[in-house]
């Protein structure tokens, strides 16, 4: 036993915090009442300021998504400006790191719309940041285009539009098709319970599979910071399901697959978007073999502007491969640019209406438009991992892991 040393002084400094509190209140009030110079500007300005609040740090599994979105937006901005798509107007991106923290997201949104007077926001990585930051932008009548999105778009109060399709709607039909092709009767689920999107996705996948006659044997929760999944995987192994449906952050997949392999758990995995990034394939190796997943974006697709996106991305980042997040950032900025061109102005409500009316957009995700819920009509495609590479899935393809 090593005894702790005697305690030090516990007296707190006696300075008053009231001046600081008053300053904070004054700043908050000024943020509420200040006009929004960016949103009511008519015509096309020389510089179109686009705020991009993204999770660029914080939990690494989320920061990886934010940095991907940032790269895609930068590629799109360069294309838009160099091609003169918006005439003499140039897009200027104002990035803000929201650090995977709701408070930072809210603060960044207030700063961008009030202090920086951006014309639009293209950003917010994942739903929690969006839910925290969108109300401030919507109050200022600033249109918002969200690259990656899951649930809760109503927080944008009619000014928010998501590029990613409604994932709780996109996955289930494909899951049912995959399960039927495998002849699965039972399913286990593993998901991030602290992520509202993953929760909504899992609920929808489970409802659809149960409706299709696939019984649920266990539902296992983890969090976005979990790194040891062995307890949940062992529990799943004990229930012996035919399929394991996983909805977690992309950065969590390698550990899940490797720990599944260590424990010799042999179950067909149906994963979600982001499972097959280059890093995941490199880290998880053979343990991901035969995994099937539905994705909104595919490098294999030559629809829309996808070939152009891939070429531009690889030119800008020779050491990296494009991924779903970069594609979403790319399409989000291009989608906004199209709406501005159609509206002929950067004025908030006009751009919002143009965003809502877009039905013929061509982007990295293919050709699509916006539905009445403010989300795109992308249906997704099913892929599988075989021989360490990603390829199209079909019911008649066999795979031995």
């Amino acid at each position: 036993m090593i005894a702790p040393r005697s305690r030090g002084k516990r007296a707190l400094a006696g300075g008053s915090l009231r001046p600081l509190a008053a300053l904070c209140i004054a700043l908050a009030l000024s943020a509420c009442v200040a006009p929004s110079p960016g949103s009511d500007e008519e015509g096309m300005p020389e510089t179109i300021r686009v705020g991009a609040p993204l999770d660029l740090s914080g939990i690494a599994a989320i920061a990886g998504i934010g940095t991907g979105e940032k790269r895609g937006m930068e590629v799109a901005a360069a294309e838009i400006n160099e091609s003169g798509f918006l005439g003499d107007s140039k897009i200027e991106l104002e990035f803000a790191d929201t650090k995977a923290d709701k408070r930072d997201a809210a603060a960044a949104a207030i700063k961008l719309v009030q202090q920086d007077a951006v014309h639009a926001i293209v950003g917010f990585t994942l739903s929690p940041s969006f839910s925290a930051g969108a109300p401030a932008a919507a109050r200022a009548e600033t249109p918002i285009v969200v690259p990656v999105f899951g649930t809760g778009l109503e927080a944008g109060d009619g000014y928010a539009y998501g590029i990613y399709p409604n994932l709780p709607k996109m996955y289930p039909p494909h899951d049912v098709e995959i399960a039927e092709s495998l002849g699965a009767d039972t399913a286990a689920y593993l998901y991030d319970s602290d992520n509202p999107t993953a929760t909504a996705i899992t609920d929808a996948r489970r409802d659809a599979l149960e409706a299709a006659g696939v019984d649920t044997v266990t539902v296992q929760e983890v969090t976005s910071t979990t790194t040891d999944y062995r307890a949940q995987l062992t529990k799943i192994q004990q229930e012996d399901p035919d399929i394991l449906v996983v909805s977690v952050l992309p950065g969590q997949y390698p550990a899940i697959f490797l720990q599944r392999e260590e424990l010799s758990i042999d179950v067909q995995v149906i994963a979600s978007d982001g499972v097959a990034t280059r890093d995941s394939l490199e880290q998880a190796g053979d343990s991901m073999e035969c995994t099937v997943f539905t994705t909104a974006w595919s490098a294999l697709s030559d629809e829309g502007r996808n070939p152009t996106f891939i070429e531009s991305f690889q030119k800008a980042h020779p050491d990296l491969l494009p991924d779903s997040w970069a594609a979403a950032g790319y399409d989000a900025l291009w989608f906004y640019a199209h709406a501005v061109k159609k509206a002929g102005t950067v004025e908030g409500t006009a751009v919002r209406d143009a965003l809502a009316a877009t039905s013929d957009f061509s982007g990295a995700f293919g050709n699509y438009g916006m539905n009445q819920d403010g989300q795109t009509t992308i249906e997704g495609t099913v892929l599988m991992i075989r021989d360490g590479a990603v390829e199209s899935w079909s019911a008649d393809k066999s795979c031995k892991g």
Partner: protein
């Protein structure tokens, strides 16, 4: 049985970090918030050595050395000067929080906030079957190393001259100095040991996940504090038992209650222990003289 092994292995990682924390508190009287980053830096030390072409054992040693050096540097450049200027407990807490942020920021900057691939080749990553049990070689390695390292540390503190010096400094720095023991050298060695233990945990975590990032260790800090407190702050054996117990409680919560209660179950168990035994499982009651 399978879940028991899962729990002990999970608890082994908690214990390694918790032992370092309790050692620093017990000897130096410092509640350090930098230890999770030391864990991460240890993992990065191994990664860098591996990328430079080192063998797995050299890379492992480099990671352990990195953790030790970082922890000693924190003692030399921040905690030591603060102690000499009569810093309070709160100033140590604030200072080590600042160190943690800076260490994390450096890694974040160098890695562009990306998750990097951690090497697994050469590490025990296969599995073995004993009857109906499937044992992960990595889990076995974590359990064995945790037990060996903790036993060696406890034996050193109890039966060697260095151990007596450490206990003397922990009891009273002034009296230890009068007896010819150098508190400063003791602090350095204790810091190195705590840093090395955290680094071992960081390396195992990297191997387990096949990746590492600047924030890899952050989520373990709260658990490590809990381990140190439930074991009895300042007690190395207590931290080991506390770590293993929390790991087992977390895993059993998944196995027999619900995965939704994994985190809550651990902290509920900690609350129960502290209510029944405020000094922790192996802690010593303090008498305060007025």
């Amino acid at each position: 049985m399978q879940q028991l092994i899962n729990g002990v292995a999970l608890g082994g990682t908690f214990a390694l970090l918790g032992v370092g924390l309790t050692l620093i508190w017990g000897v130096m009287g410092v509640l350090t918030f930098a230890q999770a980053q030391v864990l991460t830096w240890g993992g990065f030390g191994t990664l860098v050595a591996w990328e430079l072409g080192a063998s797995v054992w050299v890379a492992f040693g480099a990671g352990v050395l990195t953790g030790a050096v970082v922890c000693v540097l924190v003692e030399v450049t921040v905690i030591g000067p603060l102690r000499r200027r009569g810093g309070s407990e709160f100033s140590f807490v604030a200072a080590t929080m600042g160190v943690s942020v800076l260490l994390g920021f450096f890694l974040e900057w160098r890695t562009h906030a990306q998750t990097l691939t951690f090497p697994r080749e050469g590490f025990p990553t296969g599995s073995m079957r004993i009857g109906a049990l499937t044992l992960s070689e990595l889990q076995v390695a974590i359990i064995v190393i945790t037990i060996l390292v903790s036993a060696a540390l406890m034996a050193t503190l109890r039966w060697t001259r260095f151990g007596r010096d450490v206990r003397a400094v922990a009891e009273s720095r002034e009296v230890a100095s009068l007896l010819g023991v150098s508190p400063r050298a003791t602090y350095w060695v204790v810091s190195a040991i705590a840093g090395a233990l955290a680094a071992i945990a960081g390396i195992f975590q990297g191997v387990s996940n096949a990746n590492i990032s600047y924030s890899s260790g952050d989520h373990l800090l709260m658990i490590a504090f809990a381990v140190a407190v439930v074991g009895g702050i300042g007690s190395v054996g207590g931290a080991v038992v506390g770590g293993l117990a929390i790991g087992i409680v977390q895993v059993f919560a998944v196995a027999y209650v619900s995965s939704a209660f994994q985190q809550a179950a651990a902290f509920l168990a900690i609350l129960i222990v502290l209510v029944l035994r405020p000094q922790g499982l192996f802690g010593r009651e303090e008498t305060v003289r007025v």
